[in-house]
Structures are given as structure tokens and as C-alpha cells.
Amino acid sequence: MNPKRSFQALILTLHNYWADKGCAVLQPYDMEVGAGTFHPATTLRALGPKPWRAAYVQPSRRPTDGRYGENPNRLQHYYQYQVILKPNPSNLQELYLGSLEAIGLDPLLHDIRFVEDDWESPTLGAWGLGWECWCDGMEVSQFTYFQQVCGIECSPVSGELTYGLERLAMYVQGVDNVYDLNFNGREGAEKISYGDVFLQAEQEYSRHNFEYANTAMLHQHFIDAEKECLALLAAGAPGDSSNNRLHKCVFPAYDQCIKASHVFNLLDARGVISVTERQSYILRVRTLAKACGEAFLLTEAGGANWNREAA
């Protein structure tokens, strides 16, 4: 398993590294999201007092980044490697640098830097301070100390690491075009490249995102997801009695919030959203995210029954 030889070995190396640091190695979330942060294992688990450590790959979709397969670096579908540690350990920077060494980046050969980049997700009502991590001038990761998620103050603060897997792989494999990445580590006839897997999809999705997507239908989907999210939150809301204090339906409601966010991104790529409308769409998604976050705090995982002293 050489992380410099194949895309999958890179992923497996990171899995091993972070599993060793006590992370639960999860699988990708099974919905379309714009970034690994949207996975409930990050968004929701960053809330409340309970410690949490997880690592996973998240396929991410950014419809406006489609380039019809013609750009060697930009993709509308790509992979993020996501690590979340709550609370952040005080040596998180060292842990992160250790992961780079694990995949073969020698910090005395490569120029590794932490460059200011404050992260904010207006749709998630979330922000944090941190950096873009540069390797020889290339942003290979995002490093954030979450301060607020779903409009709720993080207590304690989580550290979030997001690796751009394709870029990192291009770097360690030494290729200039993402589609030339070796995916499976074989050579000759058995070799499967990133292009073999994704090039056609990039072309087709670019057409879809910019030209074909049915905007009237998408508008309707947005409205439906918004309604459903609020309906589910209402249905699962806690009652007055003491044996009915917990919220009973947060994860399914949050799925609808994710869906609304992705539909909004598609509408944005189709260029049918005006600037004022854009603001109001973002606000509507944020309202859903906030409602989900507040409901999550009323659940077991959100720490509603958690006694700090006992932990």
C-alpha cells in the first residue's frame, strides 16, 4: 500500500493514521453534499458537550466548479477526507503534520505552511478560525477550529481537518492532470485511472449543472425539502412529560436540510438566482440548519442526558 502509487492507497493510509489516533472511521454520507462538513458526523456531532472523533471520505459536489472535464484541477465532484476531533487536542497541528508525513510528504523537502483562512458556511450558520494548509504553494487541506455551528456556540470547540484528496494525490503521485491519477495502483492493462472512473461523469454533470437541469423542478424540490424538514422537526419535538424530554427525529430532518442546500447550489450554477434571491435562499437553508442543530441538543447524542462530571 504505497500512498504515492494509487489514489486508494492514499485514502487507506489516512484511514490507518487517523484510526490509530482514536477516530471512528466512518463511510461517506449517502447524500449529495457540497463538503464533508455537511455530513451529520461533523455538523451535528460538533454540537453539545460529548467528546467525538471521526474520520471519513466524503464525495462532495460543487455544481459551479464543473469544467466539462477540460480543467486539469477543477471538478464539480471530488473527494474530501474529513477528520473531526472534539474537543480539539492541543497538539492538533502536530497530528496533522504527522498525517502528511504518513503519506510521504517530508516537511524538510516540501514547504508546508499555515495560511490564514477563516472558514464560514453561511448556509450552515457556522464559522471557525483556522488556515489553508499549503504544500509548496498548493492548498492541500483546510484546518478549522469550529466556533459556531448551526448558529450555536461550540462548547467545547472541535478541530476539523479537510484534505482535498485529488490535489494531495496529484502531488504525491507527481501528475499534473487529475484525470491521470492512478486510482488502483496497477500498471499497464490493469491500471484504472481517475479519468477512467470520472471523466465522462464530469462532462455529463457539467452539462447537467449549467445547461440541462430542470430549474422549475429544482425550485419545487427546494420548497418540498424545506417543508419536510420543518414538518419532521415538529413531529419529533419533545413533549411536556418527563419521560418525553428528548427530540425524536433530528437526523431525518437534517437530511432534508442537506437536500435543500444541494438544490440551491444547482439553481445557482444554472444562473437563475438573482443576488437578492441568493441571500434569501441562503437564509432559508440556514434557518433549517439552526432548527436541526437546536433539536439535536435535545437528543442523547447531543448531550441532553450527558453529565459532564461523570464523563
Binding site: 516537511p107 471557525g128 478560525l129 504553494g137 467545547p156 470547540v157 502531488y171
Partner: protein
Amino acid sequence: MPDLLIELRSEEIPARMQRKAAGDLKKLVTDALVEAGLTYEGAREYWTPRRLALDIRGLTARSADLREERKGPRIDANEKAIEGFLRAAGLSSLSEAHVHNDPKKGDFYVAHIVKPGREAEEIIADVMPAIIRDFPWPKSMRSGAASAKPGSLRWVRPLQSIVCTFGAEHDETKVIPFEVDGIVASNITYGHRFHAPEAITVRRFADYAEKLEKAKVVIDAERRKEIISADAHNVAFANGLELVEDEGLLEEVAGLVEWPRVLMGSFEESYLEIPSEIIRLTIKTNQKCFVTRKPGAETLSNRFILVSNIEAKDGGKEIAHGNGKVVRARLSDAAHFWKRDQSDLPDLETLTASAEKFGLDLKKPLDQRMAKLDALNVTFHAKLGTQGERVARIRSLAAALARLTGADAASVDRAVVLAKADLRTEAVGEFPELQGIMGHKYAVLQGEAAAVADAIEDHYKPQGPSDRVPTDPVSATVALADKLDTLVGFWAIDEKPTGSKDPYALRRAALGVIRLILEGSARLPLLPCFDVALAALKAQRPDIRAEISADLLAFFHDRLKVYLRDLGARYDLIDAVLAPDADDLLMIARRVEALTAFITAEEGRNLLTGTKRATQILAAEEKKGTEVAESVDEALFRLDAERTLHASIKVASDDARDAIVKEDFRSAMQALSKLRAPVDDFFNDVLVNDEDKAIRANRLALLGLIRSATGEVADFSKISG
């Protein structure tokens, strides 16, 4: 005298915040020490991406004892008052108090209280935690397990360690071990993250700086800048190129590294087809690298200069190679924008209504972008409507202005409808500072006339006191329309600049109008322009009813004063010619100019004295209620000086008035200067306060004529001296 060394080491501090933070640290610490009664000889701050350091020299070891006298009650005061005095002064019995004698009030008690001085160490340990907790970072954060509790430390990024040592020169220093959120100050720091991660024990600034240097940390940011600048020039020169200097970038890069090492990277020459501005911004903004050019050339070379933070094992080959790849990828993206901006937008059929509104040709890319800008209803300002509405307003105003500036109406119109189109291009989306510049380039590419293309770029000008003022009539007209629409709009919704707040840069816009008018010698009365602009706005937004002209004109007067004063004009002379309704800025400036020349010559100075004397006498008599004749009656003249003055005033007034009609202020001043001798003679020969009431009233009326004659060119009462 002891020295104090403080280092606050943290995870990477944003480059843009370091200099100010180090300065804040110095100020906060020295202020607190002085406040506590210590003094020091000198203090200097240092910073790197990972630390703020402060070197204070010659600090007093101990604050002086403070003596205070507290006055007490009279010695015959009741017991309660005496008890209260003892308690407040901290005395155990009256035997510790002194008795003072006052011959008027009698004897009373006084307590001599001594507040003993404190050790500097104690003071430092006392003030530091609060300084760190309340540090004025523009943005700060909580972190770690401590952040589960309220009130945990906020720092710009997690704070990792604190150094605080104190001691006299040549002596061993002591650690002052104060604590903040679990971090205890020590004498231990760490060097370069990768080259020297081991602990370093430090005593005072001298060995601190030296040991850090050995551990590959240059603590002094100015030195890092010098190293980068010198090495960058050398590397460029060695490759037959010259560095394109960039002070802002240099400052930023010096804040990104502790151990600067300069390297050179390259990209394919084919990318040089992309406009230089885009290449430079791509490489600077995204990669923090410098661009180079062949000596004397306008265009860039395909080599760039980067600054790394390590002394790489391979001499930096991998680093340069890697940076080159990233720059290539960025330029490939930029090339993509550049190409996409020149091709057709999808769904053109949805843009026909907008195209008709602005007379746009949807076969042309820039026209499509303007139509899209309008169709998307992109907001300019919530109360002032969309960018499309704004362009429509500028268009009607520019058409009216073109009649006054003599600019070609068709070119002005075309330039206006394309002026904001590039806001919808991808290049400007990526680099907003390229607005106008990109519009110009795309306009040329789609075959617009030079005057139109230039106006698209230049209508944003002048951006400040030193920016170029466009001279082409088309550019100047669109620039004026753009700025006047902005000013009238924000005035109409009552968003005026206040104090230091001017979020919409309205002062700059007004200065732009002033410079366009004065430096372009344009005759452009402002009030009618305000009316046209306001009418266009009110047609779109009937809810706007504001009457703003007088207030906006007064704002222009203020800005004009600032502008003219910066050019050396006297404030009082500007005031003397500035009538509240004067809206022709060029005429105001010319009057000031003529008046300045006049008043600095001897004739003018004397006339000013005479006029002032006349005005003062008149004002005093008017105040007393002395009768002043309605008009001058020649039959009441008794002396020649009266007759001569009267005749001279008539001639001078007529001549001055004629000259002013012809806008020849110099001649007007000259006409008035002929009054000097008759006015002087009048005051020498004539006693205004004649015993005969009628004669006195007539003479006062004659003084009134002096005042009104000079008033033709300026209000002399406002001129000082």
C-alpha cells in the same frame, strides 16, 4: 536596571494582524507598567508568524513608595467622626495621627499614609494575565478542552507558550511565572517548526534573538523583509529579469515565514496571452508570489519569485516545481475565465427584454453580460435598486451632461450601457479589483470604438487625490454621471458620510467630480445636474421624496474647500467668494485664484483695509441706529474727496460688473483696485460723523457703496488681515 523579555508563542497568526498585534502588546504592557509606577528606558516589539515578542530595557526594579496625607476632622470633633477617620485612614489609634494647626479653622487631625512601592516582578505578574485575556485581536477564538467552560481564553489562534524573564544586565534573569488558562510563563521557547522543534532556554532578548536565529527563526520582521527583497532582486537579476516590486505583498510574505528562502519558479509562456493584470493578481493574491519582467518591458515574464519557509534538503527544487504546478493550474483557470468571458452565455432568449431596454446587441459577449446583470436583478443597494436601474439612471444623466461637455452623445450612451457589464464577467468575479480594466479589454475585443472602451475603464476615475483624471470627453462625461448618480442617490436615502465613516466612499466621489470639473475646465452648474439625477431616481422610486440639493451642494463646498486648500488656497479667500448657492465650481475656483492674486498685491491689501474700515464704521452706526441715507445725494457733498470717491465707485462698479459678466475676474479686481486712492483720500480728508445729520447720513450711504462695490467680487468682511 533590569530588562524584561516577553514572548507569546501561538499557532500561526494571520500575516495582516502581526504588526499591529506586536504594537498593541508593547503599548498595553508599557502603559500598564507606567500606570503601576514603573519607568523604562526603551521598548521594542518583534513578531513572526508564530510569536509576538517584547523587549523592554532599563525597567525600574521597584515602584516608589507613595505618600499621601489624609485630612481628618477637628480635634474637638465628636467620637463618631474620629472613629470614621481612623477607619478610613487605616490607623489603629489617634496616637498615629498628626495634628495640624490652622489659624482660621482650628486644630485638626491628619493621617500620613505610606503606600509602599511594589517589586516590578510582582507588578508584571499582576498585569500580564489581564493584558493577554483582553488582547485586542480583530478576531479571536476559543479552543481545546477548556472551551467547554464559559470565559475560557480567546486568542487569535491557540496560544501555546509564554516566555517572561526579568533581570538586570549581566545577572541571571528570573522567570515570572504568571498563569493564563493553564499556560505558565517560563524561560522556554521553541525554534523553527521543522528545522528546530526542540526546547530552547532563554535569558534575555540578546540571547533569545541569537538562539532563535540559530534555530532558524529571524525574529525581526524588517530584517526578513530586507532578506526577501534583496534575494528576490538578486535571483531575478541573475536570470536576466527584474522584480516587479510590491510592498504590500512583501509585508505579507514576511509575515508568512520565520526563515525566508527565495526561489524562482516558472510557467508556460503560452499563458502570457492572458492579460498581465490577471497574471499578476493570480500569482500575487492566490500564491503570494512576485512576478518578474524583462528589464524595461511592459509585459511580464514567465518566471515568478516565491518565498519558502525552509532550507530544503534538495535546495528547493521540489518546492519550486510544486509552486510552478499550482501557478499553472491557477493560470489555466484564469485562461478559462478569459475565454469564457468572450463566448456566448447560455439561455440568450431570456435576455431579450433587458437587451431592448439598453439597446444591447446580444451577438456581442459584453452586451450579453450587461443584459444578464439587468435580468438577474443584481442589487446595487437595497434602497437604490438594481444595477440595471442604476445604469438606466446614469444613462439619462450622462445624456444631459453630454450636452454640456460636448462629448459625442452616441459614444457616451454606448459607454454607459457597457460600463458595468464586466461586473458579470468571471474575471471580475474572481478579482473584483479588475472592474473597468476587464470591461475595457473585452470591449476592445468585440470591436468597440476606442473612446467607448476607454470610458468603460476610466469612468471609475479619479479614485483619489493622486489618481489620473480622464481627459477624453466621453470618459469624463460617464465618470461624472456615475459619481453624481451615486452622490445624489445616497443623499436621497440619507446615507451621508459621518465623521470617519464613509462606507460608500462618497467623499472620494465628490472629490472625483471636483477634479473632473476643475482639471477638465468644465462649465457644469451642479444644481441642474442634481435635479436631473434626482428626477431619474424619483421616476424609479416614487417613495423617494427628499429635497437634497442645498445640502449636497454644501457638501461639495466643503470638499472644494479641502481640495483648494490642499492646492495652497487661503481658507478665508475661499469663504469670501463662496455664496451658499454657488454651484459652478470652475467659476468659484477662478474667483479664488483672482482674489488671491489681488489681495496679495499692495493695491488689494490697501483696498481691503479701506473697505474693512468703511464696513466697520457702517456696522457700528447701523447698530447705534444712526440714520443712513437710502441713496447717495450728490447735492449733499461738501468735499472733493466725497465727489471723487462717488464717481470712482460708479466707474469701478460698472467695470467690475461688466468684467464679471465676461467671467474675467482679473479685470474685475483691477477695476476695483482703482478705488484704492479715492478711498484712502476719503478717510484722510472727510469726517464721516458730521454735525449735520443729513450730511452724515449721506456719507454713511457712500460707505455703503464701497461695501457693495467690492461685494461684486467677494465678501471682503470674511477676509482676514
